[in-house]
């Protein structure tokens, strides 16, 4: 449905997107993940024909974004980072205006407006001036605007930014309810969002794609070598460290002195060897030595850790990401917690 090949976007002073390629199939929900300024918005703007690419090609539903931009524009719904709203209009007037812009026949417009108002839960504010709406409602009006012409492709730039957790959940549900008929690309820097609603993740950093895979695959890739957070009380930190370094399957141990949450607690980050489960052995070693096991958990399970580690390392090729992640996580473990 969406195909991007060797896309580069250069601004006057810097390169926003460097030679990226990806494909999105029909009905997929793809999460575009990256820090602010990573190139997410630029990529989306190219796909929506707002910006032409400097190099490379992009096509939506088989239509080129430069050559056949009108055809592309008919097939996409786009919610920019700041919803494109006219504060002086009321919601119905605004949606009617957008519906006309998108080429919906006049006779169908009231029906479509009612439909999206119901779908985005904004029917109660239909006659309110947009300037008076709360941020949450504005975002929903923005979303209603994007889906009003029932486009096969939806491009949503940070659809949940600025919403409270309850609204975020609702927005995610709404997006999930749109999947199936629509191919959706959404960008975000909230990782849980991707885990909840996306089938595929594209992680982008400094204008380059550093990982592109399904959520499940990214997890399993990370899981080959375990990293444990271990907290022990009632012992001398040096002794504890010496003891746990001897546990079978432990590759390296790093003391996290700065992280001690309370007096007498010694914290460590323990890296296991690949494909070894070191948790039970660690626990046994601590308890048999007479210390108290305060904390023992696997870190780096969430997408968040994968993301931070991936974006921290300079350049990790998609295929070899697994090994590079381990290397990257060793240089500054304190930052992992950020």
């Amino acid at each position: 449905m969406i195909k991007v090949e060797g896309l580069t976007k250069r601004y006057a002073r810097h390169v926003a997107v460097k030679n990226i390629s990806f494909e999105v199939g029909k009905g997929e929900i793809v999460g575009f993940l990256g820090k602010n300024g990573a190139g997410k918005t630029t990529t989306m703007r190219v796909l929506t024909c707002f910006l032409p690419p400097t190099e490379g090609k992009a096509s939506v539903a088989g239509f080129d974004v430069i050559e056949q931009s009108l055809e592309v524009k008919k097939r996409i719904g786009y919610l920019p980072e700041t919803p494109p709203l006219y504060p002086e209009m009321d919601v119905t007037t605004y949606l009617t205006f957008v519906a006309r812009l998108k080429g919906i026949p006049s006779a169908e417009i009231p029906k479509r407006v009612d439909e999206v108002c119901g779908r985005c839960a904004i029917a109660s504010v239909k006659d309110t001036i947009i300037g008076k709406l709360s941020k949450g409602y504005r975002q929903r009006v923005g979303l209603a605007q994007a889906i009003i012409h029932n486009p096969p492709v939806l491009i949503l730039d940070e659809p949940t930014s600025g919403l409270d957790p309850e609204q975020q959940r609702e927005a995610r549900q709404l997006i999930a309810s749109l999947s199936g008929d629509h191919t959706i690309i959404l960008s975000t820097h909230i990782l849980s969002e991707v885990e909840h609603s996306c089938s595929k993740v594209i992680i982008i950093n400094n204008g380059e794609i550093i990982a592109s895979d399904s959520v499940a695959n990214l997890h399993s890739r990370r899981g080959t070598a375990e990293t444990m957070r271990l907290g022990v009380t009632g012992g001398n930190p040096q002794e504890i460290r010496k003891r746990i370094e001897q546990v079978a399957g432990v590759a390296s141990v790093i003391s996290l002195d700065g992280m001690a949450a309370r007096e007498g607690l010694a914290s460590f980050e323990v890296h296991g060897l690949a494909d070894r489960e070191v948790g039970p052995d660690l626990a046994r070693a601590v308890v048999t030595a007479g210390w108290n096991l305060h904390e023992l958990r696997i870190v780096g399970e969430s997408l968040e850790e994968i993301f931070i580690e991936l974006t921290k390392s300079e350049r990790v090729q998609t295929g070899t990401a697994g090994t590079e992640i381990a290397a990257a996580s060793e240089d500054k473990p304190e930052e992992v917690k950020e």
Partner: protein
């Protein structure tokens, strides 16, 4: 075509949903009303004096009242039009709604023409206020309607020119004040360009004076439709809108 009207309607509505439209109409009504009062008062006084002096020939309302009045209206227009055109694109760029327009299945020309026509409609509403005063002349006098119509045609063409240039200037910035101030300066400059010919007879001076917007307006207020003037205005309008389309295009490349 439908898209042009959609944009045009939206623009006109947004003028009227803020105080801008009413304020501009009221200000224009006030200033034009004052000019009208001065012109008619002077006409009445001069007319009485002429009668007492035994002059038989009646004075022409068209020549003494309407001609100067429409000339004044065109100058007032120079000051008001930057206020109409400054927001056209600057506001959309600032609020980000330009992304909605430019990612919708409509062409740049449809956006531009829609916006320009919206501004034109606003301008027409403003100069329509002057019809109240001119109407009074028809109630108590017998002016020739033809020079009045050509005068209004001149006002419309001149307005179109300035609004086209203003539309272009509005695409170059996110800041409405800058757009307004720049448009105002350009208007002022185009007005005073005609002064060059008053102290210099050289061909280049004539050429510069030819570019003045006001020199092309004068014949209209005297009831003359000269194709030279009409072509000047129409080509200036096209030039302004053409620059707008180029500017909008570079917006995509610069962003």
């Amino acid at each position: 075509m439908r898209n042009i009207f959609t944009i045009c309607g939206k623009e006109l509505k947004s003028y009227f949903s803020s105080p801008v439209a009413y304020l501009l109409m009221a200000l224009f009504g006030l200033i034009f009303g004052f000019f009208f009062y001065s012109a008619t008062a002077y006409f009445v006084m001069a007319g009485m004096r002429a009668q007492m002096g035994g002059q038989e020939q009646p004075m022409s309302v068209n020549e003494f009242v309407i001609g100067p009045l429409l000339g004044n209206a065109s100058v007032v227009g120079l000051f008001l039009m930057p206020l109409i055109s400054m927001r056209l694109f600057a506001e959309e760029k600032r609020s980000g709604t330009i992304e909605l327009l430019m990612t919708s299945p409509i062409s740049d020309w449809e956006i531009i023409l829609g916006k320009w026509l919206g501004a034109m409609s606003m301008y027409l509403c403003i100069i329509a206020v002057s019809a109240i005063n001119v109407g009074l002349l028809f109630i108590w006098g017998h002016p020739d309607p033809r020079p009045i119509l050509t005068g209004y045609l001149g006002l419309i063409l001149q307005g179109g020119t300035i609004l086209a240039l203003g539309t272009f200037i509005s695409t170059t910035t996110k800041n409405q004040i800058i757009a307004g101030a720049a448009t105002f300066s350009v208007c002022l400059l185009l007005w005073v360009l005609s002064w060059v010919s008053s102290y210099n007879e050289a061909p280049w001076a004539q050429a510069i004076a030819y570019c003045s917007i006001l020199t092309h307006f004068e014949p209209f207020s005297r009831g003359i439709i000269d194709s030279k003037d009409v072509i000047f205005y129409l080509s200036a309008i096209f030039f302004g809108l053409f620059l707008t389309s180029r500017s909008l295009d570079t917006l995509r490349w610069r962003a």
